[in-house]
């Protein structure tokens, strides 16, 4: 996926409004209309269930965030070698990495998740060795399958991004590192990786927002994230719209916070042209 597509699909720091841009006459009118709409929603819709579910909602948000950050970090750690071998590796590493990226990016995440959860989950109990291993208590839970599916998917998309980023580091910089007598590892650690991450950062941030948008899928395999809590509310209160509107609001807030954090992070990295 190209940078532009990530930008078109995920909310990114460039889209954040500035404080000044709000004080335009037509925007003030629109905000008043929107405020009236919010008040109408708050008054005319049913929100009496909210206090009862608040602790569970908080817990669900926490689970969603843990899912997001753990899989993003694990996925990124996998993506670095996947991207690197596609640029410099021998063919027997290049080919599997390419196939991995193509297969994962070519199939829906929901299918991969269900393949792992129902497929592997039904296969594991048939092997006594797995049943008796220390892993078994974890493999009976749902969350390892959710983490695995999200990590694999993130690694494949990021691997592609990192491949482009590694290939895009100017060869002169690597030659300069070589000329200073750096070994391969020192060159990778000091020049190649930091420069690649720097180049890929906006795309990485966009992909992380996309990853947040993928986390509710784990609710379909009984992981109790915020989406699952809202589904539970809908089943118990027979309300259709209120819980879903709240859920959309929660995700918008999470995305907003994430994007603001990324902008701060991006601004802290010094950039200077020659």
């Amino acid at each position: 996926m190209t940078d532009e597509t990530t930008h078109a699909v995920a909310f990114t720091p460039e889209d954040l409004p500035t404080a000044k841009s709000f004080f335009v006459p037509h925007r003030i009118v629109m905000m008043l209309v929107f405020a009236a709409f919010v008040v109408a929603v708050a008054v005319f819709m049913r929100w009496d269930w909210l206090p009862r579910y608040l602790p569970r909602l908080g817990w669900g948000i926490l689970v969603s965030l843990v899912m997001l950050f753990s899989t993003a970090i694990l996925g990124f750690l996998l993506a670095v070698p996947i991207g690197l071998v596609q640029v410099t590796g021998p063919w027997f590493l290049k080919l599997p990495a390419k196939i991995f990226c193509t297969v994962i990016r070519g199939t829906p995440l929901l299918l991969q998740l269900w393949l792992l959860y129902y497929g592997l989950g039904s296969l594991f109990p048939q092997f006594p060795a797995i049943r008796q291993s220390f892993l078994w208590p974890y493999l009976r839970e749902a969350w390892p399958y959710g983490v695995a599916a999200l990590t694999i998917s993130f690694a494949a998309y990021e691997g592609e991004v990192m491949r482009g980023a590694f290939a895009g580091v100017p060869p002169g910089e690597l030659e300069a590192a070589k000329a200073y007598g750096m070994g391969r590892w020192a060159m990778f650690r000091r020049i190649w990786l930091p420069r690649a991450i720097h180049r890929a950062l906006p795309t990485l941030n966009g992909e992380t927002v996309l990853q947040l948008k993928s986390t509710p899928l784990v609710a379909t395999v009984t992981v109790v994230d915020v989406y699952a809590v809202i589904s539970k509310v809908r089943q118990e209160t027979f309300l259709t719209y209120e819980p879903l509107l709240l859920l959309a609001l929660i995700y918008m807030c999470l995305t907003g916070i994430l994007v603001v954090a990324f902008r701060t992070f991006e601004n802290r990295i010094p950039t200077r042209g020659a």
């Binding site: 995920a10 193509t102 297969v103 995440l109 993928s214």
Partner: protein, 241 residues
Amino acid sequence: MAADSLINWGLLSLNAPGWGGVLLQGFFNSIQIAVGGFTLGLALGIGGAFGKLYGGPVLRDLLECYTTVVRAVPELVLILLLYYAGTDLLNQVLALFSIGPVDISGLMAGIFVIGVVQGAYSTEVLRGAIKAVPAGQIEAARAYGMSPTKVLRRITLPAMLPYAIPGLSNLWLIATKDTALLAVVGFSELTLVTRQAAGTTKAYLLFFLAAGALYLALTLVSNVFIGMLERHARRGFAESR
């Protein structure tokens, strides 16, 4: 465990005891929704991109809200909201005109839902593509006295196409994969029928891998066509690499 008892290929046969036919029907439904949703999204995207670039301040801000919400909220949540709200709203509007409630087919609802989501994405892609068209070309068309619709038809749309095709082809691939999310609202597209087949026969791995192969085939075949389309649209461009 013998190999033929591990994998029962007969389950994939097209006729009644096998589930192959059901899977292909689900695959066909998925493709229908992807094509419909992508086309609807493209129509919304063209309107949205022009509104964002040439519209008045209020229209621009409304479109900005639309793209922001769709890009910040998970597709799964949007699909649920639109699926219920869309059908509900339609029935309420029909009730206003004292027409009884209609039963909206899952296919139409699915196309609508995917289309609205894709519309926001393609608004952004097309807006970027239109901005990449050299302003002089559009000005020249205006100077020749072409009406706005003629400028759109003869200059802007054809000239932006080479810039839009990479993004739009990615959106098409996203659309094919987003159809899987309709499984959650119970529409029998490929992922849901796969799960039903797998649940009935207990051959989970076989069916999920078969469905994965179908999705992958769709992606790979699409990629071939996208490559051809891209070469065709970029003919006459100076080769950059």
